[in-house]
Symmetry: C2
């Protein structure tokens, strides 16, 4: 941290974004470009951080520095702050590195008081303008500095309008506005037990502190969390000489984009209002005019603005979002920044800027946020229909897209009702693997419990179905088939709508628009593939998922979860038999029933993938997940097994675990029951031989992946079992077949002893979900109970299940990579956890030297783009 | 590995123990000392390892080497292997680095066959001896080489005795023995479907292979696990010329200790039999004579033996356990080794050897196995009463000592029945914190579930109460108050006995002898303290535990688990109120009730510890552990809280967690409910001020320990809460009080980011229980379900909850120490997990630079000794 905390606009430039914030840096840059910008200065982000370091006090030295710059501003403007005869008024605006709608934005007209307003009236010969500015200032100051909601003042305004029998603000006279100022001040006093501050310097100091404070208001924190912005960045404050769009009909104000932020079309897009200040444009009281109208109203100003727009776009090589004010026919630029845009517009703009020669392909690739692609791949709500709609509840945005349909409360109902042609939203406390079919039949899934990586979330993402998880406010009554939220009860077959991209739940049917991939998408993704070195695979358990992922550009399967295949009809019966077997023979008999089904599954997946690599994970979850819970099912199973019901109940009870996530699962099952690994190996290998035989041009090389290994001895044991079975089958078949045996690295101890594990493992696939759980010591299913407190109290800023925790978990990953390569320099490295589809995590994996990432089908394009960006960024380092 | 796999006894010496095994090295050494030892050779431990590396085949080269040495032995002995005219017979005995009773031990008389026996008869003019040797050989070979149990042959012997109407073996004639040989061979063929091998070289090869194989028999594996012996050590095989104690009344055999292995008294202790082979002495068919009798029988031999004993003890500086044989009045030494001894004898011998000038104090300290001390601190079974008793079940040796009493099935019954003066054994599926009082009233605790660090195990060890956990074979019927094992049902009030040092459960009342600490203990422990640099603290939750630990030499408390104080009467009510509170006010009200109780607890503990350091861990377990489960308790609590029963049930259900171990607990509670940390701080600080005021000579410096931290931000938040409350109280009191705030390192992420955490933490206390769970990814409560498979299949050799896994968990510990010191060079480092009382782990903690270990009171002496040994060993490195 330096000891300069305030910069004049003439001292800055666009590269000083971290110090001056985006707004401040761009104002300075526009001045450097010779554009008309009212003068001012920026209090730096470092001043904000120091404010917090100093226990929320602004250092005396910084205050002094501010007022030194204020004096300079007085000099350059020829006006004096607080001088009624020649008053300088300023705006105070926050501006952080990244644009942050959650924060305090703007106070206009600061510097006004009872005397200055009179001077302003005289000086401009426009008392109405002066008092209009004053009343706006009081209202804005009370709101953003003192937290006294703006809307509370509206009743005062309404009273006066009623008394004067007028409807529009513009119909109010100067005297009306004077009366309004009087009433505002007395309302201010009544509500805040203090007088409205008349000392302009006090106004300024309070306003600057309010900007600093707004950095940590709940909305800002929430926004940062959603957008990966660290709280350590802080915000800058811009103090700028006021220019007035409300000085009469030759003044005005407006906002515009250099291209359409909605479609990306290359034409000026925006609105303006004459005789107005900035807030009026968005307030919706008067209807603003389209920017093209300005050409008629003030052709010179319009031309100047168009020229500036073009120049800014060329300068920044990106679409710009600008604010301007016209004061007595003179144009002033108040802001420019890269404009926000829809996914569709983002791709079009990127492609167009390349064809226009303004950007290289690499630059274009870096310009699009990979997460934005999601919106193109899933249905979205019709923006007109959803406008103004308030959610009835909000959960976690677990699987993107929009869905609308009728509520059902269990998977069976979902399947049945969907079969009759209805659109169904499945509402559950939580889902389990048995619900798969019903989930697949639903348009959307809502769960009360569970996080971003709960069963529902993971499966829904795989299926590309919209899902909102962890909607804790909803109370379900499964018996009555109702749920209650916000005092209202929803019944079976009532309509609701889910936005899986925001977590919002709406209480009615909403129109949706389908996903639409256009040409720009193909062009753009092809460019991405040119630069990408990381392969992108998918997590897929069925040919359907695999097909979807291939369509999105997947280059293989990084994770087939074999257990997901075990939940249908005969299969679940056989697996239950296997689990409750008392002897190795019983177990083998049950497994023999599963073998042909599993072999069939693998054949179908190999066929779909046409020889691309397929990694098959052996049975992973705790066995009791498969066990029957209802009395009926238990009795049925006992009958099938020729067992006493009580005995079976005893066995089921014996399988109970306190912490199933850390219990008898993964490789531990294969060690207790090597018959399972034998059966799965038989299925994997026989299927591969059959498919290779049928398709001369395929060369299926199955990758057998053993989960949950923590010690090389575990892998050594199971690998021996696998190799014995596999080599025997291959030998007997007379065919040639290569296969690999590797492991997941998902237990901290595996990462710590990866050098030993690499002696046996031919590949590592990082299971960052479990690795994150165990490294952090909390279960993703239970973390929902306290993580909200963690966000509220600034302890975490990120959900470590969404974005890889590079400091802790990442250290283990890095360690494992280094150790693994020491033993086996050419070891194959990949990831199949949820992080495989998260852009920042993808970059990390690229940088530590993985060969591939694997993610759910609908995140494949995101991973492709993120991988391209990572490669480009790494290259330029 | 060299390429010499066989060593003549003349090539070896005592330093070659790793290569030749203990037996081989000591035989060679005795030859070097000029003692009478029959000649022979040793097949090395490396040969054993190679045998396993080569897929259980003895390399041809090794076979050749063996027979080359056999030829040399023929030469030195002047006899020929398999030559009826001058036969060489040999013994084959296993001998690993450490003495291992689980392995195959001995085959005598190898080299005999139908022809050789005749030759031997002629040569010795003693056909009875020859056939006696032959029948012994067949029986022994069948047993140890072919696995055909020795006892099966006994019926053959009994038949012959019955036919001949004699009782003793010695009464059988030569013809009887010939007949026995005939019948043995035909029994051998019938059982094994192969002829008894008559080729002596085949006999030898098979016997050597059998020794190798015995290295991995289940008993040997179990013994290694119990005694921390790595399987990679392998075993050596000793082939030695036979000398015969059964050649007539001038021959004999015996075993002796240079001092009493039972009391340590310094006088020759042992037994012998004339006209017998080794096995007869221990077989108990004839009653052996006390070694002193030998003086009368053969004074010269006795004197020679006494002289050899003395010389061996002086040479090895330790009490020796020797085997000898007298062949025709000539003494031969067959073995010497450091003798096993009771704990009492171990201390006495160590002390005596120091006073006799044979050992330095350091050497004496290194001579005693710390774990042995346990036996001095707990009651043991009367050895006469337990002799020959078969356990009805076996579990884990969770808390040492012996206990006998009447079975009860719940904690309440335990408390009530004990109050009436009965000795009670509490038998439970598992225990929970609510059972504390009942556990405290019991003589012993048996749980069906749970491992060495389950709740029952941890608490029992703290209380010094015998506990056997994880007795999976027992089926409890809690309703009927019975349990069933091995087909037998035990009712309430039936007597059973537990051996907490072995895990054995016996089905009747057994006599016990009380713990007895004698003078040698004090002397010896004081020596240990002279060399120890690591401090030893205790884990103690009550003044009673603390007092016990002080008596055992504890220098402070390393862990007060505050939650254990919350289970009694009013307390549990208040904590339940706290948990189900809907508002912060309700919560504070409930906490206010707990404050005076908790403060009182801390005062009592500080008073007991008289100013020694006390580390207090803040509330740790998941809240639902405290919640009522019975309808009655729930209704009662709802009444107390003025809540609807259904609402309360909802709250309780809402607290359910899938994986409570990884749920809302530890620091996470303080973050959600800072009121808890506030109350606990108030209690800690106010109690310290009060106690310091009352006792001018105390300077209580409380160490506040925040559990389950995974990110420095968590600690920073809670530390701020703690400091605010603490500093305010201290300020208000006008007293001076120092206190520290630190954290447990028990989450992998904490270890990985210890540099950051050390910015806030003034000390680290390693919670190696949780750290082990999370690093391995399994819960100690559930691991019982599969760990037995892991031991059976050689995947683990150690229970990582008993002995710190240095490869994985140890790496994290080391990493955390290094990172922590980088940030805060003088950071205080300790451990309060179960490993704090495990000798090998204590050595690790010494070596990584901890200041202290903390363990349960009854393990304090063990830790003191282990710490002394660690210091001495580290010094000599």
């Amino acid at each position: 941290m330096g000891d300069k905390f305030v910069y004049s606009f003439h001292e800055g430039n666009e590269t000083m974004r971290n110090l001056l914030g985006g707004k401040g840096a761009n104002l300075a840059e526009m001045i450097n470009l010779g554009m008309p910008v009212p003068d001012g200065f920026t209090v730096t982000t470092e001043a904000c951080n120091k404010y917090y370091d100093d226990g929320e006090t602004i250092d005396k030295k910084i205050i002094d520095e501010i007022f030194t710059h204020l004096t300079a501003l007085e000099k350059s403007s020829g006006k004096v702050f607080g001088d009624p005869n020649n008053p300088l008024l300023v705006s105070v605006r926050s501006g952080s590195r990244a644009s942050m709608p959650g924060m305090m934005d703007t106070i206009l007209n600061l510097g006004l008081n009872d005397e200055v307003v009179e001077g302003l009236a005289k000086l401009t010969n426009n008392p109405r303008f002066a008092y209009d500015s004053y009343r706006r200032f009081i209202q804005m100051f009370a709101d953003v500095v003192m937290g006294l909601s703006k809307s509370k003042f509206e009743t005062v305004i309404d009273d006066i309008k009623a008394e004067r029998k007028v409807e529009l603000d513009t119909e109010l006279t100067t005297d009306d506005l004077k009366e309004m100022v009087r009433r505002f001040k007395s309302f201010y006093h009544a509500e805040l037990k203090s007088d409205f501050p008349l000392d302009p310097r006090e106004q300024l100091a309070l306003a600057i502190e309010a900007v600093f404070k707004s950095w940590n208001n709940p909305r800002a924190i929430y926004y940062r969390k959603m957008n990966d912005i660290p709280s350590s960045w802080g915000t800058a404050v811009n103090v700028q000489m006021m220019v007035f769009g409300n000085m009469g009909e030759t003044s005005g104000t407006g906002v515009a984009f250099t291209r359409s932020p909605s479609t990306g079309d290359n034409q000026l897009f925006g609105e303006f209002l004459m005789n107005a200040q900035g807030e009026d444009v968005v307030a919706g009281i008067r209807t603003p005019n389209h920017i093209s109208e300005l050409q008629k109203v003030m052709p010179e100003v319009y031309d100047e603005f168009v020229a500036i727009s073009k120049r800014l776009e060329e300068h920044y090589h990106d679409m710009q979002d600008m604010e301007f004010t016209i004061e007595n026919k003179k144009l002033y630029m108040l802001q420019t920044r890269n404009g926000k845009r829809t996914a569709k517009a983002a791709l079009k703009i990127a492609c167009d800027l390349v064809s226009e020669g303004l950007l290289s392909k690499k630059e274009a690739i870096l310009m699009v946020n990979p997460n934005q692609l999601d919106a193109l791949l899933h249905p979205q709500f019709d923006q007109d229909d959803i406008k103004g709609e308030t959610p009835i509840a909000t959960g976690l945005p677990a699987s993107p897209g929009a869905a609308t349909g009728q509520v059902v409360f269990n998977a069976e109902d979902a399947a049945n009702y969907a079969q009759k042609g209805h659109r169904v939203i499945l509402v559950r406390l939580e889902t389990s693997p048995e619900d798969i079919e019903g989930m697949n039949s639903s348009k959307g899934i809502l769960t009360v419990r569970g996080g971003m990586t709960s069963h529902a979330a993971v499966v829904a993402r795989g299926m590309g179905i919209c899902c909102v998880s962890g909607v804790g406010d909803i109370k379900i009554n499964e018996e009555n088939k109702t749920f209650t939220v916000g005092g209202k009860t929803y019944k079976e077959y009532d309509y609701i709508s889910l936005d899986g991209s925001t977590g919002n739940v709406y209480g009615r049917e909403l129109k949706t628009v389908p996903a639409a991939i256009e040409d720009d998408f193909e062009t753009f993704m092809n460019w991405a593939d040119e630069f990408r070195t990381l392969k992108v695979r998918t997590n897929a358990d069925t040919p359907r998922d695999a097909k979807q992922a291939l369509a999105f550009g997947a280059e293989g399967i990084g994770l087939v979860r074999t257990e997901h295949m075990f939940f249908e009809g005969e299969r679940i019966k056989a697996i239950r038999e296997m689990i409750v077997s008392k002897t190795s023979e019983q177990r083998s008999r049950a497994l023999a029933k599963l073998l042909p089904m599993q072999k069939g599954d693998f054949e179908a997946i190999y066929e779909t993938m046409q020889g691309r690599p397929v990694t098959i994970r052996y049975l992973d979850p705790p066995l009791h997940e498969f066990l029957p819970t209802s009395s009926y099912d238990i009795t049925q199973l006992a009958l099938d097994m020729g067992m006493e019901v009580d005995e079976l109940k005893g066995i089921i009870q014996g399988l109970h675990e306190f912490n199933p996530m850390m219990g008898h699962r993964g490789v531990r099952l294969d060690i207790s029951y090597p018959e399972i690994a034998e059966m799965q190996t038989r299925a994997v290998i026989e299927a591969a031989i059959a498919v290779n035989k049928r398709n001369a041009d395929f060369n299926v090389v199955p990758e057998i992946m053993i989960p949950l290994v923590g010690d090389v001895a575990e892998l050594r044991y199971v690998k021996a079992v696998v190799k014995k079975v596999a080599d025997e089958i291959i030998e007997t078949s007379g065919e040639k077949l290569d296969y690999m045996v590797g492991t997941m690295i998902e237990i901290p101890r595996a990462a710590l002893t990866a050098d030993e594990i690499a002696e046996e493992a031919e590949f590592f696939s990082f299971g960052t979900n479990d690795l994150t759980q165990m490294t952090f010591g909390f279960s993703r299913d239970d973390a929902g109970g306290f993580l909200s407190d963690y966000y509220d109290k600034h302890i975490y800023e990120q959900d470590p299940f969404q974005r890889l925790d590079q400091k802790g978990v990442g250290k283990l990953v890095k360690n494992a990579v280094d150790l693994g390569k020491k033993t086996r320099p050419n070891i194959k490295l990949g990831i199949c956890g949820e992080h495989g589809g998260d852009p920042s995590s993808v970059e990390f994996f690229h940088n530590v030297g993985f060969q591939y990432v694997s993610c759910s089908p609908f995140r494949v394009p995101i991973a492709r783009l993120a991988a391209a960006q990572a490669a480009i960024r790494a290259e330029s380092k």
